[in-house]
C-alpha cells in the first residue's frame, strides 16, 4: 500500500490534563489521508476537528498517539504542511506579493526569485495584476485567495484549511469552492478541510469524515462517489445530505445535552 500523506494513530488531546476538570477534546482518533486526496472533516462546532488540524500542522502538541506525514512523525510546523485559516491573516505591512512569498523570504530567497514566484502564483489564483496592492485594498474573497497563494508558494504536500470560507458570503463561498477544486486539481497536494457545512463537504470532498461531538472521534468515514462538477440538484447529493444531516443532528443533540448538564452542574457546585 502506498505511503499515506497523513496518518493519525490513536491521537488524543486533553485540555488541562493536570487540572481539576480535564477536558478530553479528541479521544483516540485514527484515520489516514492518501496522497492527493481531498478529505473533509465534518462535525458540530467544538468537536475538536480544528484542534486536530492544528495538531497535524504541528502548532499544537498531542496528548497521546502519533501523527505522521509521509512516515515522518510531526514534531512541529513544517513548510510541507500548509495551512489556511478562517481569516486570511495577511500581513498589512507587506504588499500582496511580499505576503505571498513571506515564507520564501524566511528561507533567504532573494527579491528577484520571490518576485518571479509571486507573479506566477498570483496569476494562478487570478490576481496577477494586483501584486503591489495592500491587503486592505482587497475584498474578503480575494484576500482568502491570496492566503491560498501564500500557502501554495511553499509547495506543500498537504494543505490544511480551517473553515476557510466561513467568513465569506454565500455567493463568494460557492465561487471559492470551485476555485479551490481547480487549485487542487492543478497541484499534487492532499487537502484536509474542516467545515461544519454539509453542502460544502459534499461539494468538495473525496471523503467525508464525520466527527462525534466532544470528545471527538470518527463517527463515520464516507466516500463521496459523485461525479464532479457536483450539482446540488443531483439525487445522490440529496441522499448524502440527508444521511449527513441525520448523523450530525444526533451529535448536536448530544452536545447540547452535555452543555446543559455542565451548566447545571457548575451552578450546583
Amino acid at each position: 500500500m502506498a505511503v499515506p500523506a497523513v496518518s493519525c494513530k490513536k491521537v488524543s488531546k486533553v485540555w488541562k490534563p493536570d487540572g481539576p476538570a480535564p477536558v478530553v477534546a479528541i479521544d483516540e482518533l485514527s484515520f489516514e489521508v492518501a496522497r492527493g486526496e481531498f478529505v473533509v472533516l465534518l462535525g458540530p462546532s467544538g468537536c475538536g476537528k480544528s484542534t486536530l488540524l492544528y495538531m497535524i500542522a504541528g502548532l499544537e502538541s498531542t496528548t497521546s498517539g502519533t501523527i505522521e506525514c509521509d512516515k515522518l512523525p510531526v514534531e512541529g510546523p513544517s513548510s510541507d504542511r500548509g495551512m489556511i485559516f478562517q481569516e486570511a491573516s495577511l500581513f498589512p505591512w507587506l504588499t500582496l506579493a511580499d505576503n505571498v512569498t513571506f515564507g520564501l523570504g524566511l528561507r533567504g530567497e532573494g527579491p528577484d526569485t520571490r518576485r518571479k514566484i509571486a507573479s506566477k502564483i498570483m496569476k494562478k489564483v487570478g490576481l496577477g495584476d494586483v501584486l503591489d496592492k495592500r491587503p486592505d485594498e482587497l475584498s474578503g474573497g480575494m484576500r482568502q485567495r491570496v492566503a491560498v497563494a501564500r500557502a501554495l508558494a511553499m509547495q506543500p504536500k498537504v494543505l490544511m484549511m480551517d473553515e476557510p470560507f466561513a467568513a465569506l458570503d454565500v455567493q463568494t463561498r460557492a465561487k471559492m469552492q470551485n476555485f479551490l477544486l481547480q487549485i487542487w486539481r492543478d497541484s499534487s497536494a492532499s487537502i484536509l478541510l474542516v467545515t461544519h457545512s454539509i453542502d460544502e463537504a459534499i461539494s468538495l470532498a473525496d471523503r467525508i469524515i464525520v466527527f462525534t461531538s466532544r470528545p471527538g472521534r470518527v463517527k463515520k468515514d464516507i466516500r463521496v462517489d459523485i461525479e464532479r462538477p457536483r450539482s446540488t440538484r443531483d439525487p445522490a447529493f440529496h441522499a448524502l445530505q440527508d444521511e449527513l444531516s441525520e448523523l450530525l443532528a444526533d451529535e448536536v443533540d448530544r452536545s447540547f445535552a452535555d452543555q446543559q448538564r455542565s451548566v447545571i452542574g457548575s451552578h450546583s457546585s
Partner: protein
Amino acid sequence: MKSTNELTANVSDVTPKPKKVATGLSGKTKYRLETAFWWILSISIFVGIWELCWYVGWADPLLMPPPHIFLSDLPETFKFFDRGNIIGSDQTGASLLGVLSVLLWTTMRVVAGLGIGFLLGVATGLLSRYNRLFGNLSLPLVTLLAPISPVAWLPVAIFLFGIGNTPAIFMVFVAVYFIITLATLNQIDNVPVSYIHVARIMGATRRQIYTRVILPSILPGLFMTLRLNLFAAWMVVLIAEAVGVGSGLGQIVMLARNTFNSSLVFFSMTLIGLLGFMLDQLLRIVQKRLLWWLDQEGQK
C-alpha cells in the same frame, strides 16, 4: 481690530493644512480649505473675545495683555532670547536668530529624549518577551518605576548629569521610556495569534517571528502612544529647562515670571503652543513614512 486680522494671518501661516491653489477644487483641496477655515475661525473667536475684554476694560493690559499688545514690540521681546543658549556665552544680539536658536535647542532636547526613550522602550519590551530571564528581571522594576512622575526625577537628573542638556533629555526620556515599555508589552500580547500561526506554519524561527511579524505589527500602536505622550514630554522639558538647564524656552518662561513680564509670558506661551503643535505634525509625517501601510485618515 486691525491687529486681530494680523494675528489670524500669522496663525494660518503655520497651520499644517497648506492651502494649495484650488484647481477645480478636488475633494482633498476642499477638505483642506474647510479645515483651514475652521482653524482660523476658532482662533479668531478666541482672540476676538480677548481683545474685546481689553477694549471694554475688563482685562488689565498689565496682567492679561491681549495679542496685539504682546505681539507689538517684537524686537524688545526678542531681547530676552539673546542670552545665547549656553550660560556665559557671548550675546547674539536681539534678533529673530536668538529666538530660533532657543526654539531649536528646546526642540532638540525633546526630540532626542523622545527618540532614545522610544527606541529603548521598544527594545526593553521586545527583549522582555523574547527572553524570559530578562523579562523576569526587568519587568518588576519597570512596573515599579513607571508611576513615578518625571518631575520627581528632576533632582536625580541634576545629581547625575549636573546642569546642561543632558538632564533635560533625561527627563524627556523618563517621561516616555516606561510608558513605551509597558505599551510594547501590551501590544505584543495583543498581536493576533493567527499572524504568529501563519509565520510558524511557514517555518519561521522564534527570532524571525519577533523581527518580521511582531515588530511590524506593534509599531502602529506604539507610534500612537508616542504621539499621545509627546505633549507630556513637551511639558517636562520646560520644567527641566526652567530648573536644571539654564536655557531654552523653559528658562524664558521662568525669566518672564520672575520679572513679572506678562507680555513675555504670553509670547512664550504662544511659541510653546505652536512648537508643540508642529512637533506633533512632524511625528505624524514620520508616522506616515514609516508606517506606509496605514490609512492616514483612519489613524487620527
